[in-house]
Symmetry: C2
Subunit: 299 residues, 2 copies
């Protein structure tokens, strides 16, 4: 078997893991993940009878195909020899040799792979099911503003092959698999998807969790606010934001610690406590980080 | 008509210009070049009855598709909004939005485009002829070490569509169109394709010209050596190299000013004057810059 590994980014999500499995399968490479898989991905793998890939926390000496990421900071430790990149993110990549790179501005890497290998994917129910899961996950069941018409069209085709008759129901079941925060420590919930930003020299942290029942978050409001305060004070943040995004109601309860005026300006709202409901806001990348950065740059 | 321009790198060559024309034609965009085209490209355009594209020396405010390059330093002035990249070079690209990027490690961008649009290219004799010209130019009629089996295979297919029965003869005619240095000032010949390198803090310049008759270079040896000395002294180079590459004999007469011991070590030869014949050496990128850099790093 080939000694080439196909691997996604650190803190693996469903798109990164399923894209690695399918691309590796089609090319005869080995799939791997840069860390343990989450409950949502586990649900998808189980649904289509596919085993979890090898966890590769250090890739020294290995030849890698990177899927679903390209920036150095998101790579598995020890990544050196890169053979190819398949992705849907912005590019921040510098490499001494010409290599194969294919990036499309669509909602998920799975969409890119389904377009690259239409015949292989149509002939394999499990591949179609995994890619469908990845598209639904990354586009938040087509509700994320990153969704394109191509993602929807490809998902329809994949659902047919995978034998999924109700795409939305399948998407909600998939999301539910990791959406409940019951019994999870707040630190884990805040950090499952957390990014640091530098806004005009100030450190701002923004975490996000998707939930299917926002009440679970409301019940633990004080816990979240206390934890965000602790984080801000101990790690030198100017502001810490936590997005509890309800994918059914399509909106975000945004918790924050820091200067309330920044939140009011960024989202054109009045706030009267440590959180505010922002209807329609689903994406950190497109709807939260840019307006907050804008206030910092203007201020 | 679309307001999107497809454009290649500065100091345009045949691959960059023909790739821009064909990609623009297929996509309904406008072809452009970042500077005047050279005699070789002119020959190819004439051969297939295609007009030269618009010269766009400043692209401010335009939306661009970049072909045959991606690094910021090689871009047309004023390039800001980039929609897509089609290339065969190493990647050094950082952009804030996800965009379409397709790069393959083959001998020319023309090969990449022929693979992306097989039907469109097969249906258009001029497109096939331009892409064939670009492949022959960039791979030095398949003699460059950057040539892949795919370049050769695609070139055969394109030649059939373009009505070229003798590929090698066509390639030599193409190369001859700009290869003669008769009547050209030495400074122009040395600078038509000249790159500066930083080797362990020392500035090294390497120029290259392809010729079909090395005697033309030998006749003007003193002129070249005097000019290289002048360049070294006036611009702070530690070494200046000029490659006169004979594409028929398949080798390079390498002129240099600087420490002869570096040349001897780099190419494992004895030198007894300002130049040395290196059989089989065709590529600055693969066969000259790396061994010279190695000596600097070791020294």
């Amino acid at each position: 078997m080939s000694d080439i590994y196909v691997i996604g980014h650190k803190a693996p999500d469903t798109d990164t893991v399923c894209s690695a499995i399918v691309y590796a399968g089609i090319k005869g490479y080995k799939p791997a993940t840069a860390g343990p898989i989450n409950e949502e991905t586990e649900f998808a793998l189980k649904q289509f009878g596919v085993p979890a890939p090898e966890v590769l926390e250090n890739a020294s000496g290995k030849t890698l195909v990177l899927v679903d990421h390209n920036e150095p900071g998101q790579r598995v430790d020890g990544a050196e020899k890169i053979l190819a990149i398949i992705d849907h993110h912005k590019m921040n990549f510098n490499y001494p040799d010409p290599i194969f790179i294919h990036v499309e501005p669509v909602g998920s890497t799975a969409t890119v792979i389904a377009k690259m290998f239409p015949n292989e994917v149509k002939a394999n129910k499990a591949y179609a099911g995994l890619l469908l899961s990845a598209i639904l996950s990354d586009t938040v069941i087509f509700k994320s503003p990153t969704t394109t018409e191509e993602d929807k069209k490809i998902a329809q085709e994949l659902a047919q092959v995978a034998g999924i008759s109700d795409i939305t129901k399948f998407g909600v079941d998939l999301k539910k698999a990791k959406a409940s925060i019951k019994g999870k420590p707040v630190a884990d919930v805040v950090h499952v998807d957390f990014k640091d930003y530098d806004f005009k020299g100030k450190k701002v942290g923004i975490g996000q969790t998707e939930v299917v029942d926002i009440e679970e978050v409301y019940e633990r409001k004080d816990e979240f606010v206390n934890y965000l305060n602790e984080l801000k004070n101990s790690k030198g943040y100017d502001m810490v934001i936590f997005m509890a995004t309800d994918i059914i109601k399509e909106g975000t309860e945004l918790y924050y610690v820091g200067n309330a005026a920044i939140i009011e300006k960024a989202f054109n709202v009045k706030v009267s406590g440590p959180s505010v409901w922002l209807p329609g806001v689903m994406s950190r990348k497109k709807q939260v980080a840019p307006p907050v950065e804008k206030v910092y740059l203007e201020g």
